[in-house]
């Protein structure tokens, strides 16, 4: 089974970020970058499949500039077999990402990727990709098992969980509960340096269908107050008309 894991370089999800004062973009400052946490969960899941079945091969893929190599190396260190960087310096949106991935996903049995990126918070690319490939999809997976080319996926829903059964090839997106990604020990990172990382040009000339034209800070909440006792809290809530 051939698995493709698209990964995205995002600002550290635990860092505090804000827009530049002129609204032209994000004030990244000294913020670090990492693999989108949901994509990391996807790579982890693929590696666990490979550990159970050595015939599994994993390709990590990303679209971007040379800086993205750092994140692809991390995926290799986690256990991906090879990495592919689709070189791009042009503006992207989810539709372009999906168009590119649709080209490179041909021949794979499974695309396993994050349900959303923690920077854009869009949650679009995987479903668009599945549509373009005309493959079935299972989003928000909390458990995945694949037997004889059939995936059984338990996915989180608005009201609980459901289990879907879908034939491969398919696109599956990961939710937080799927697994806890491994810590990468030094030998893995060293070994990863010798694993193949290829650079390929873009396959399509698709342009973005949307773009961010401004970024603003959300309006601050008016300052609240501390209360000393439960009775004072109840009085305050009554005053505000919510009790």
């Amino acid at each position: 089974m051939k698995i493709l894991c698209p990964i995205k370089r995002v600002v550290d999800p635990y860092a505090k970020v804000r827009p530049l004062s002129d609204g032209s973009g994000l004030d990244i400052g000294a913020v670090k970058f990492d693999v989108n946490p949901f994509d990391e969960i996807a790579v982890e899941e693929a590696v666990r499949m490979k550990e159970k079945d050595p015939t599994v091969t994993i390709t990590a893929v990303s679209i971007g500039g040379p800086e993205v190599e750092e994140q692809l190396r991390k995926a290799l260190a986690m256990g991906a077999d090879e990495a592919m960087l689709i070189e791009n310096a042009l503006p992207l949106d989810s539709s372009v990402v999906a168009a590119e991935l649709a080209h490179f996903a041909k021949g794979y049995d499974l695309v396993l990727m994050g349900k959303q990126s923690t920077d854009d918070d869009n949650g679009q690319a995987a479903q668009m990709l599945a549509a373009k490939l005309n493959w079935p999809q299972a989003t928000f997976a909390s458990s995945v098992s694949i037997v004889d080319g059939i995936a059984t996926v338990t996915r989180e829903t608005d009201t609980g969980e459901e289990t879907l059964v879908l034939p491969l090839p398919a696109v599956i997106t990961t939710d937080l509960r799927l697994n806890e990604p491994r810590y990468i020990a030094l030998p893995g990172i060293i070994k990863a340096r010798t694993k193949p990382l290829s650079k390929v040009p873009r396959a399509t000339d698709a342009g973005p269908k949307s773009r961010v034209v401004r970024m603003d800070s959300p309006p601050p909440r008016p300052a609240g107050r501390k209360v000393a006792r439960v009775d004072e809290l109840i009085a305050g809530l009554k005053e505000r008309g919510v009790l």
Binding site: Y14, K16, V17, P19, L26, S94, S95, A98, Q116, T118, D119, D120, D121, N122, G123, Q124, A126, Q127, M128, A130, A131, K132, P136, Q137, A138, T139, F140, S142, E156, T157, T159, G160, E161, E162, T163, L164, V165, L176, R177, K209, S210, R211, V212, V213, M215, D216, S217, G224, R225, K226, R229, V230, D231, L233, I234, G236, L237, R240, V242, L243
Partner: protein
């Protein structure tokens, strides 16, 4: 000529869709799924057949609509805006990103545009469905489904009052007794942090935040919740936020309208008794 298609995944969506139509200034044709919505591949295929000639296709944000509408956008080669909170014009929308740290103005440069929007940010305007959509064929089969009828508690995304608990709640029984007890007394819903869900204290559909549910009640009571950016992203639209936390320096106090530095195991039961 702009034309708006409104997609209702549940009857409760209708009024929110009416409000969105008003905000974008288009009349809108409303189609509603009849019965159970099928898995995304079949649902999106069915919607594609209905989407011909429409420039804007909108649905209320939910996990289900994200699943289906993004696939529809792929099928239609559409532009997509997720979680819109404001319509600036039919080609410009405001949406939060980076866990709500940024409000981005997104311009679409292509038609059609598929939009999901947060219902709390738009007025409710009653609207009747124009067409019911029933889907029978699917390639993906659904073999089990849980949740849905969760007792008498209101749906988190609609609730006027919410009581949420975090990591210190220990186990599911304690969580249910302390957090559920106050929620029931208030006639409200129960929410949780990722930490509480991950450790099995609360069910996954109760997770509130950047990657869980976005809520907008009149009253949000957070007990034993530190106030991570990811959690706050889901509760910013609450009218009044109450924080109960033993740590006076917990970040949640920066956002809370009322902060009570106290042990939740005594403060919450006392609150339950007195309200």
């Amino acid at each position: 000529m702009p034309r708006l298609l409104l997609v209702a995944f549940a009857p409760a969506d209708n009024a929110a869709l009416g409000g969105f139509a008003e905000a974008i200034g288009l009349e809108g044709t409303l189609i509603a799924f009849e019965g159970e919505v099928p898995p995304a591949d079949a649902a999106a295929d069915a919607l594609k057949k209905e989407a011909d000639g429409f420039t804007h296709i909108a649905a209320v944000s939910s996990m289900q609509s994200k699943d289906v509408m993004a696939r529809l956008a792929g099928l239609l080669d559409a532009a997509m805006v997720t979680d819109a909170i404001k319509v600036v014009s039919p080609t410009q929308f405001v949406r939060p990103m980076v866990a709500g740290s940024v409000l981005a103005t997104v311009e679409t440069m292509h038609e059609p545009v598929v939009i999901t929007f947060r219902p709390a940010s738009f007025p409710k305007v009653e609207k009747n469905g124009d067409k019911a959509l029933k889907v029978l064929e699917t390639t993906t089969s659904r073999t089990s489904k849980s949740g849905g009828a969760k007792g008498s508690r209101p749906d988190l995304t609609q609730a006027k009052r919410i009581v949420s608990g975090g990591r210190p709640l220990k186990d599911a029984a304690t969580f249910e007794k302390i957090i559920g007890g106050l929620a029931d007394k208030l006639g409200g819903a129960v929410g949780a942090t990722r930490a509480a869900v991950d450790s099995g204290i609360a069910a996954n559909e109760l997770q509130v935040g950047q990657t869980g549910k976005i809520v907008a009640p009149d009253l949000y009571i957070a007990a034993g919740i530190s106030g991570s950016t990811q959690h706050m992203a889901g509760i910013k639209d609450s009218k009044v936020i109450v924080a109960i936390n033993t740590d006076p320096d917990a970040p949640i106090f920066e956002f809370a309208d009322f902060g009570l530095v106290a042990d939740l195991f005594t403060a919450v039961p006392e609150l339950t008794e007195k309200v």
